[in-house]
């Protein structure tokens, strides 16, 4: 054997061994415990502050409020087992559960709940709008006094930024330093912003979770989430992109659950511009949109065509008697002719030297939006509207709205940031200097709507509230300050080993405590 040939053989063996080592099915070596429920979500947990990251703590069931919203939209008891409101609507009493205790073993008392609200209310996201004057502790009860009646108080009380924390959660400066809450899971390891490892809280007042431990990992990229689901590397993957559907179905590692959530993809128009100031032009554009086509071909779910602004899960706000928005080109052209927009030689309408045209801003964080934008481009052309599309960051819409340069925008709105959509409706359609920055009407106001929204918020008498809801929705349906294009459905993948998974369209809770493995 020559030295040269020896080296050749040694090198070959080395290279072979290395290649084999790199391909070892390490998954089995590093396999995770089967009793852990692995959840993958799109949201990263930035901090443990309830005012900024509270949703990341309430969704996996770490923190709880006095009340919670059920998947059907009903407000249900949580830490409070019952409640009552005074006849004038100014005093709300909540009876606490005697069995509830904090994760550190200390009891949940009226005094600790009051102390938690005292600390967290000043930085509350939504509950601040309820006009709470005082919170007091009485034996077994927490009492809220309001300055003026606030009809949607229970819905606002779901606010995760005021979920109840134990005194041990706060440092000497009153800041949250750790999360000691009451939910069915407690934090074992908080590896921010990557994820959380949770353990079952064995002394939870409600039904005990089946899984002794759970992990919640943040994976921002939608395709990566789809890969994780396809590889069977998570039990529940929240919000996988629609284009991955067929790939996931053929992978066979998980089933796909779809549920319509209170989110609407909307076409916004600047009503200060001559192309959109006349309601007839807005109605014409609305009639030119082929929602059924967009829903079926882009969203892959024909049920998502937004025939009215608010989607079916908001049952009290969704009305069967409204004429559904649908495509009618003849009616659209008739309206535009009436409004004085004449068709030019290039097929584009013109009025008083103004072209029936505009630039639409949208963004790619939601991958379907640019595709919908190009569909709209061709659909609106059919009525002589020349639409150009710019895809950028979503904030560009806000910037353009602020400086008045906005023509149109394709945006996405979560209409139930508070379970009662009155919160987003009030922000989007009844404020001059929009506090909700980029999803509401632009240079449009309606006195009747403003009065109805104020009246709705001021009463908790359902006999008064029901007709007000119909009137509010009716104005938006006829006036079209924004046009609903499609609703949105949440795609959740569930691994084959997992049984039934309740999906909360309000995105407040994953309800992990109700999840079991298949029998």
């Amino acid at each position: 054997m020559t030295i040269d040939s020896f080296h050749r053989r040694a090198l070959l063996a080395g290279a072979g061994a290395f290649s084999a080592a790199s391909l070892v099915p390490a998954r089995r070596v590093f396999a995770q415990a089967a009793e852990r429920l692995r959840v993958v979500q799109p949201w990263a947990l930035r901090s443990l502050k309830l005012s900024t990251s509270g949703s990341g703590l309430s969704r996996p069931g770490i923190t709880e409020g006095l009340v919670a919203v059920e998947p059907d939209g009903q407000i249900a008891p949580a830490l409070a087992e019952s409640w009552s409101a005074s006849a004038d609507g100014l005093t709300w009493r909540f009876k606490l559960r005697a069995a509830a205790i904090f994760h550190d073993g200390s009891p949940v008392t009226a005094a600790t709940v009051k102390a938690s609200f005292d600390r967290l209310l000043p930085s509350a996201l939504y509950l601040k709008s309820a006009g709470i004057v005082s919170v007091s502790a009485e034996p077994g009860e927490v009492v809220f006094k309001l300055g003026t009646p606030f009809g949607s108080f229970l819905d606002y009380l779901v606010d995760y930024s005021t979920h109840v924390l134990a005194p041990a959660s706060f440092d000497s400066a009153g800041e949250v330093s750790q999360i000691v809450a009451t939910g069915p899971y407690r934090i074992v390891e908080a590896d921010l912003p990557r994820g959380l490892v949770l353990a079952r809280f064995d002394k939870y007042w409600g039904p005990k979770p089946a899984f002794a431990s759970a992990s919640v990992d943040a994976v921002v990229n939608g395709e990566t989430r789809a890969n994780i689901a396809a590889a069977g590397d998570a039990d529940i993957v929240i919000n996988v992109p629609t284009p991955s559907l067929s790939r996931l179905q053929s992978a066979g590692t998980a089933r796909i659950e779809r549920v319509i959530i209170p989110r609407v993809h909307i076409l916004m128009v600047n009503c200060a511009k001559p192309q959109f100031s006349d309601v007839r032009t807005r109605r014409a554009l609305n009639l030119a949109v082929d929602r059924a086509g967009i829903a079926a071909s882009i969203m892959r779910n024909a049920a998502l065509a937004a025939t009215q602004y608010l989607p079916p899960p908001l049952a009290k706000w969704h009305f069967a008697d409204l004429t559904p928005h649908k495509r009618d080109l003849a009616a659209a052209n008739r309206l535009l002719d009436e409004a004085g927009w004449a068709t030019g030689p290039d097929g584009i309408r013109v009025k008083d030297g103004v072209k029936f045209a505009g630039n639409l801003k949208t963004f790619a964080n939601r991958p379907e939006l640019p595709v919908i934008a190009t569909a709209l481009q061709s659909q609106l052309k059919a009525v002589g509207f020349d639409l150009s599309v710019s895809v950028g960051e979503w904030q560009a819409i806000t910037d353009a709205k602020r400086d008045g340069s906005l023509d149109l925008a394709l945006n996405s709105r979560n209409v139930a940031i508070v379970p009662d959509p009155i919160s987003s409706l009030a922000l989007d359609f009844t404020t001059d200097n929009a506090t909700s920055l980029d999803t509401g009407a632009t240079s449009w106001s309606h006195d009747g709507l403003r009065q109805d929204v104020a009246a709705y918020l001021a009463t908790n008498d359902e006999t008064l509230r029901a007709p007000l809801r119909r009137r509010i929705v009716g104005v938006l349906h006829d006036e079209l300050p924004v046009m609903p294009i499609v609703w949105y459905d949440q795609l959740v993948t569930v691994a084959n080993r997992i049984g039934e998974v309740p999906i909360d369209p309000f995105e407040q809770r994953y309800l992990l405590e109700r999840i079991r493995t298949k029998a």
């Binding site: 790199s22 070596v29 990229n221 960051e393 506090t435």
Partner: protein
């Protein structure tokens, strides 16, 4: 003493260069992030509380609290003043000190980078050596072909290919994440293949060049065997271009991290940079740029010093 002086002669200008390069890089990043269109406070607010929940009120509060309404030059001045005191500031999004954020994410990147880099040389050294020892042979031609293919493929495509094969088809490895050692393999391999595509050719050429050098022929004439001559006289000479190149590849790594970490949802510096840029978290972007610049300069310095040590001619000169 001479050795220390020689070391200092190499190191001193590099240290100055590193300081100035770092400062320039950070200043440019500061200028660019501020020159991007749109309201910084609004983007920070969105990153803190979510796109759906951001309000003008929240943006205004952040503008007030973080001094984002001040003229850009004042903000730059304040940042420089803090930097001189060794303080990189706090993240606008998480509120954590920038240095803590960078260390937190940097340890993941360091681990991934080290494994990827080592893996690339585990591949490149034996294959490159073999190809260089028998130039024109089957291994040389095959490795050349593979190197061209891998070098011309963008990193994300290599990553997607590996995910498709090992995670989605064979189900051997997880496609993304960071919790276990198994999660490291695919991202490290993606980096390694990209690096090895270049280094295998450098190793091969270095070996070919040294094997043809007159001093090796002379060693053979003196009666050394081919391998003995190479071991005694060739390896150190061949190592010089390889070490220089290995250091240069760090730049590729920084580039590669951004893509690989995003693709594999790996929580390293690249992931932090992308997120911070999207959220306009200026202190983190600038701090990370500064530290990456300095690390790059430091690695170049280390490579220069290694070459100084390896270069027999320099050693002889120093000894004389």
């Amino acid at each position: 003493m001479d050795a220390v002086k020689a070391l200092w002669d190499v190191a001193a200008p590099r240290l100055w260069q590193a300081l100035i390069t770092g400062w320039l890089l950070a200043t440019l990043c500061f200028a660019f992030t501020h020159a991007l269109p749109g309201d910084v406070a609004l983007r920070v607010a969105a990153a803190r509380i979510g796109d759906d929940r951001v309000t003008a009120e929240a943006a205004d509060r952040i503008r007030q609290e973080e001094g984002l309404g001040l003229p850009v030059l004042d903000q730059y001045g304040a940042w420089m003043m803090r930097l001189v005191k060794g303080d990189l500031g706090r993240s606008l999004v998480s509120g954590k000190p920038v240095l803590a954020e960078i260390i937190d994410h940097g340890r993941y990147t360091l681990m991934l980078g080290t494994i990827g880099w080592l893996l690339s040389y585990l591949l490149a050294l034996p294959i490159g050596f073999w190809a260089g020892w028998w130039p024109g042979g089957a291994v040389d031609r095959l490795s050349m072909g593979l190197a061209v293919v891998l070098a011309s493929l963008p990193t994300f495509l290599v990553g997607i290919g590996l995910i498709s094969a090992f995670a989605l088809t064979l189900h051997w490895l997880p496609p993304a994440g960071f919790r276990t050692g198994a999660h490291m393999i695919l991202p490290a391999l993606t980096l390694a293949l990209g690096l090895a595509a270049y280094s295998v050719r450098i190793v091969r050429n270095a070996v070919v060049e040294v094997r043809q050098a007159f001093y090796l022929t002379y060693a053979r004439i003196r009666g050394h065997s081919a391998t003995g001559a190479f071991r005694h006289h060739g390896i150190r000479n061949a190592a010089i271009p390889i070490v220089t190149f290995a250091a240069l590849q760090f730049a590729y790594l920084v580039d590669g991290f951004v893509i690989v970490e995003t693709l594999f949802n790996y929580p390293g510096l690249g992931d932090l940079l992308v997120r911070s840029l999207l959220a306009r978290d200026v202190p983190v972007v600038v701090g990370a740029a500064l530290l990456i610049g300095w690390t790059y300069a430091f690695i170049n310095l280390a490579a220069d010093l290694t070459c100084l040590k390896l270069d027999p001619r320099r050693s002889v000169r120093d000894a004389a």
